[in-house]
């Protein structure tokens, strides 16, 4: 992604949100002991990264709303759909394995990062199916 103003705005929104997400996770991990009892402070610290995650979702929604180029918007939607398919597939299959076998439990926390990483796969699918070429 590069030139479109909506995509530039998306990047300018997601960079600080990502920094905030990582920072709040590290802060929560450093301050909250696994054995500590549940208190209002612990809940607040645990929810801080969630605010950043909501910010991500907001930024993604704004990207689709603000992207005025219909072809680029379609590419983004296709990426989202591929990422959603990957997450549904992984979570469903792993969930079944959890139910019937003794595989380690996958925390729900990982679903959103997995979706974000799956966008890369969506981008590759777009390139394979809708290569935009480079002729003038």
């Amino acid at each position: 992604m590069a030139a479109n103003p909506a995509q530039k705005r998306y990047l300018s929104r997601t960079i600080p949100i990502t920094i905030a997400y990582l920072a709040t996770i590290f802060i929560a991990a450093a301050l909250v002991d696994d054995r500590s009892s549940v208190s209002a402070g612990v809940v607040a610290l645990a929810l801080l990264p969630g605010i950043a995650a909501l910010g991500w979702i907001w930024a993604l929604a704004r990207l689709l709303v603000e992207l005025d180029d219909e072809y680029l918007r379609m590419l983004e939607v296709r990426k989202f759909l591929v990422a959603t398919a990957v997450v549904l597939a992984v979570s469903s299959v792993w969930g079944l394995l959890e139910m019937f076998t003794s595989v380690p439990r996958l925390p729900i926390f990982y679903i959103f990062p997995l979706w974000c990483f799956s966008l890369i796969f969506g981008q590759l699918v777009n390139r394979a199916k809708l290569d935009d070429g480079d002729c003038s």
């Binding site: 479109n4 180029d69 219909e70 072809y71 680029l72 379609m74 590419l75 809708l130 935009d132 003038s136």
Partner: protein
Amino acid sequence: MKNRLRVLRAEREWSQSDLAERLGVSRQSVNAIETGKYDPSLPLAFRIADLFALRIEDVFENPAKESV
């Protein structure tokens, strides 16, 4: 959907970027439409036809008639 966009553009010696700028879309959009990988919406198809002072069916081939 087959179309004459590349020919019409070449007749005017426009690059894909020139055409994209005139249409207010990205160069990728122009390339995808030219190569038939993406069918534009009706409003964009009208914009393209208007730009070349043609009717939509003079730019884009009717897929229904194409198979006949």
